[in-house]
């Protein structure tokens, strides 16, 4: 029927020509009915885009052969049948130049073979924005199960509660290599103000610049002491007691630190057998940096 409906109207059809989205709706009414709510509907509404960037065929390619083959999936670009790389290429044909996706080609997700359809559901998205397949945290938890565990801990950023989203700190489409640490990690972290750790977007009181910086913060980043997703320890610390965290770096040994001669060992006036000295931040209150004291006492 579709062939009869479409075919005779065309005098000399090309081997696989564009037929327009109106043809697609005849067999795919369930998709078409809600398509006006889809961000991709803009291509149809504008009426100015070329056929290869308009409506259904903008993503699925020319549909004539598919129609003539009575819906054969092999005759059209069917995303459910495509390899991850092909899905990525199809989406990047339009989205590749978006600023947020310019690093997608070299992102950890792309290297691991995670394509767009792993996170996005183009026709059946249950969420209001970005055509995600699920609410954002569940999309991420689907692969990052250990991150789910971290956000379920007593001390955590409020992602499960809905106050924050993974994309407040991460760009799942890839980000420039982080440069506040030497290695590749943390991956997919989007810099704040284009240059600094995203933590400082909210925790601006830690931003400085301070007359006396705690070099660990500036050189190796907040993750030196904190676990940003979640922790069993107060203030998202890596250790349950603060003094163990401090003393593991302040050993005075090796060629570490800003002078390369070891990080200052604690004062001889501190008796670590006395519980009083096991609360480092009771006195060193400005541990992220101070304007008034090189030992962060005020």
């Amino acid at each position: 029927m579709l062939v009869l409906w479409y075919g005779p109207a065309e005098a000399a059809p090309q081997p696989n020509a564009y037929v327009g989205s109106e043809v697609c709706r005849k067999c795919h009414p369930d998709v078409w009915l809600n398509f006006y709510k889809n961000p991709h509907y803009k291509t149809l509404a504008s009426g100015k885009e070329p056929p290869e960037r308009t409506g259904c065929e903008g993503c699925h390619g020319p549909g004539q052969a598919h129609v003539q083959a009575l819906g054969d999936k092999a005759a059209i670009r069917a995303f459910s049948e495509m390899a991850p790389r092909q899905v990525l290429d199809a989406c990047l044909a339009c989205h590749g130049a978006d600023l947020s996706k310019v690093h997608l080609e070299r992102s950890a997700h792309t290297l691991a073979g995670v394509d767009c359809s792993a996170c996005h559901s183009i026709h059946r998205s249950p969420v209001a924005k970005f055509l995600l397949a699920k609410v954002q945290r569940e999309v991420c938890y689907g692969c990052h199960g250990t991150v789910r565990s971290q956000f379920s801990m007593p001390f955590k950023h409020r992602v499960n509660e809905g106050f924050m989203e993974c994309t407040d700190c991460h760009n799942p489409h890839g980000a420039p290599a982080p440069v506040w640490r030497l290695g590749l990690r943390p991956r997919l972290v989007e810099a704040a103000l284009a240059t600094e750790e995203p933590c400082l977007k909210c925790h601006s009181d830690k931003r400085g610049p301070f007359a006396f910086e705690h070099p660990a913060v500036r050189v190796d980043g907040c993750e030196t002491c904190h676990q940003p997703h979640g922790s069993m320890n107060a203030r998202l610390l890596r250790r349950p007691a603060v003094f163990t965290l401090c003393l593991e770096c302040h050993t005075g040994m090796g060629n570490f630190g800003r002078q390369g001669d070891g990080i200052t060992v604690q004062s001889a006036s501190h008796d670590m057998t006395n519980p009083r000295y096991q609360n480092c931040t009771s006195c060193h209150v400005r541990i992220h940096g101070s304007n008034a004291d090189s030992r962060f006492l005020r």
């Binding site: 080609e105 290297l111 792993a118 924005k129 809905g162 240059t195 931003r207 050189v219 060992v265 057998t273």
Partner: protein, 660 residues
């Protein structure tokens, strides 16, 4: 058609349910899934109004820190979406309004998107977080916070589908509320005292940007002005003898003001060009950070030697931190089987400021100079990654990363009449390589295996990455109704130099299952184990003697699991779930010869604790546009570390979910 609508509604419900972490709002659908027509627009809306209640036994402060849901009436959730049917609305084509917890929840949010195709797009989010943290294990609980954080973000894009577009944005972040802090007086060996603090912090960011496409090249620019400030005041409410009664230091009065005003104006430029086989992206960003500050503290009392003291510290100055960052990324795809990407980046930051500040001591009528410590960090990095598709179902990938970092610092001290300068400079070089294989043996099944190795010639911190390697594996099976995945990863790092040794091992295992055989039943389950043990060299003073042959041994074995199932029987839907996180600690502290000599270390090196939360929710469809809901969630926290923070909390809610 009706069947398709029902399927859509059920799909929506099932997808919202996965791993539901909090009992409310209710993730059930109400009203017609496809909405109703109003002129040229389609409208979908639902709202949930209800009452939350809670009962807490044990440490209520810790409950507020972890969970913080309270009693009262709320707009638990809601959504309104309006879409033009032809994409040619007069003033707008889409409005999407979402909300959660409005009224009285500790976590409230609202978002709005309004757009007209081809003309404009406006996004707005507003969030509120009531942050309560007694932090009993930090500074003896004297760094307590009971603050409220409000965030709002606006972004307006004009001509979003045009070859040139304009972007305007504004972000505001405000934190205020009472807190506690501590101060030490009157010298570096004196006692410490808790102070009240009235926290007031604010950040405002304004953005103006644009994008132009010309001859296949896209230029994106953004100019931003980020201003931040703090006006927190700290004061002593009553005369205090301090935390340590054996110390003679006492405070009769203390007032501290330390306002600052910071600004970080920035530029970001991005240039992208792409052809059939290549893409190039160049990016440059510059932030000119500056912060002006005043520190004014006056204290009166008795010092540790029993003498009356009256001290004022007055400081003012300004610090600067210009940051420049840039990168060039090239991607080449010479054939359908090979992709190569190269990323070269630099980052340069300098922290510098006024050369000196004066500290006034009005007891001695003397003053001391304090010098800004310069710190400069310059990093250059290069990453090359390649993917080769060997066959339809097999691909190899690998890459190399190189970083060179130079750290410069200048510390200055005045010792009597002599100004001492301590300049330092050091270079760190880092290489890492990674390789992996992707397999797709059957259509829904994918397998990833990868390895990574890294070497640093000189780590900055004793606990930093120096010689590390890691292995990871992931299996994933995904169909429309069933998804399961298992993953494992292990990382080893050693950072040992003369007199100092550090090593860490982590092993991570996780498994996930999501099964939605139909709209009437769904099951989600996840389990994860995170094992970490580290050993680090220590040096500390005990009873006046330097102990440098000790070791810090830390062990953690975290187990976490979630389980959730949803059933729908007629008009009734039922959800039951359970979440459990437990740190089982470790037994390496008992290993012969591996125990730290300081008992406090032994006690602090493992932290067995458990946090569990079962929940159940009942939702009854009274009418196509009305549901009644009831839910219960229990939170239990138990620890074997200090024993002071355990609690049991019963929370519940009753609500109606309605659509009109």
């Amino acid at each position: 058609m009706r069947g398709a609508a029902q399927a859509l509604a059920l799909l929506w419900t099932a997808m919202q349910l996965a791993g539901q972490p909090t009992v409310a709002p209710t993730p059930e659908a109400v009203g017609p899934a496809r909405g109703r027509e109003a002129g040229n627009y389609n409208v979908v809306q639902w709202f949930e109004t209800g009452y939350r209640l809670r009962s807490v036994g044990g440490n209520a402060g810790k409950y507020r820190s972890d969970v913080n849901f309270g009693n009262g009436v709320r707009l638990l959730g809601g959504r309104l979406s309006v879409n033009s049917r032809d994409g040619h609305g007069r003033f707008f084509d889409e409005i999407v309004l979402g909300m959660q917890g409005l009224g009285n929840d500790p976590y409230q949010l609202s978002s709005l998107r309004v757009q007209k195709n081809g003309a404009y797009r406006y996004d707005f989010t507003w969030r509120l977080d009531q942050y309560y943290n007694p932090a009993l294990t930090i500074a003896q609980g004297q760094h307590f916070l009971n603050t409220e954080r409000r965030l709002q973000d606006h972004e307006l894009t004009l001509l979003p589908q045009s070859s040139w577009r304009l972007i305007l944005g504004y972000t505001r972040n405000r934190q205020d509320g009472p807190g506690l802090t501590t101060v030490q007086q009157f010298d570096s060996r004196g006692d410490e005292f808790p102070l009240f603090a009235d926290v007031r912090r604010e950040r405002n960011e304004y953005r103006l940007g644009g994008e132009i496409r010309l001859f296949g090249v896209r230029l994106n620019w953004l100019r931003g002005w980020d201003n931040y400030k703090e006006d927190t005041r700290a004061f002593l409410a009553l005369p205090s003898a301090g935390n340590n009664p054996a110390d003679l230091t006492a405070l009769e009065a203390l007032r501290r003001d330390e306002p600052y005003r910071g600004s970080s104006p920035y530029w970001r430029l991005n240039l992208r060009a792409e052809g059939r086989v290549f893409a190039a992206n160049a990016r440059y960003a510059y932030t000119a950070g500056r912060r002006r500050f005043v520190f004014d503290e006056s204290a009166a009392g008795i010092d540790r030697l029993g003498a009356a003291r009256n001290r004022q510290i007055l400081l003012s100055g300004a610090g600067r931190r210009p940051v420049a960052a840039g990168s060039l990324t090239l991607s080449v795809a010479p054939g359908s089987r090979l992709r190569v990407a190269s990323h070269t980046a630099f980052h340069h930051t300098r922290m510098e400021g006024d050369s000196s500040f004066r500290e006034v001591n009005n007891l001695t009528l003397g003053s001391a100079l304090i010098f800004f410590q310069f710190l400069g960090i310059r990093t250059i990095s290069q990453t090359t990654e390649a993917t080769i598709r060997l066959a339809d179902r097999v691909a190899l990938y690998g890459g190399h990363h190189y970083s060179a970092r130079r750290i410069r610092s200048l510390e200055q001290f005045r010792t009597g009449p002599v100004l001492e300068r301590l300049p330092a400079e050091q270079d760190n070089v880092f290489h890492s390589g990674q390789a992996g294989i992707r397999l797709a043996p059957r259509k829904p099944l994918s397998v990833n295996l990868e390895a990574e190795v890294g070497r640093t010639d000189r780590a900055f911190l004793p606990i930093g990455e120096r010689n590390y390697h890691g292995f990871g594996a992931r299996l994933r099976y995904r169909t429309r109704t069933l998804t399961w995945s298992v993953a494992a990863r292990t990382n080893y790092n050693t950072n040992a130099v003369s007199f100092s040794a550090h090593s860490s091992r982590s092993r991570i295992y996780s498994a996930e299952l999501s099964w939605t055989p139909g709209g009437r039943f769904s099951l989600d389950a996840a389990y994860g184990k995170l094992h970490l043990d580290t050993i680090s060299a220590l040096a500390f003073f005990a009873a006046g003697r330097l102990n440098f042959q000790d070791r810090s041994l830390y062990a953690s074995n975290l187990h976490s699991g979630t389980l959730g199932a949803r059933f729908e029987i007629g008009r009734v839907s039922l959800y039951a779930g359970y979440s459990h996180v437990e740190d089982a600690g470790g037994d390496r502290r008992r290993a012969p010869g591996a125990v730290a000599s300081l008992p406090a270390f032994v006690a602090a090196q493992t932290f067995p604790a458990a946090f569990r939360s079962p929940l159940a929710r009942l939702s009854v469809r009274l009418h196509s546009k009305l549901r009644w809901n009831f839910g219960y969630q229990y939170y239990g926290y138990r620890e074997e570390f200090s024993g002071r923070q355990g609690y049991r909390a019963h929370t519940a809610y009753a609500s109606v979910l309605w659509s009109f």
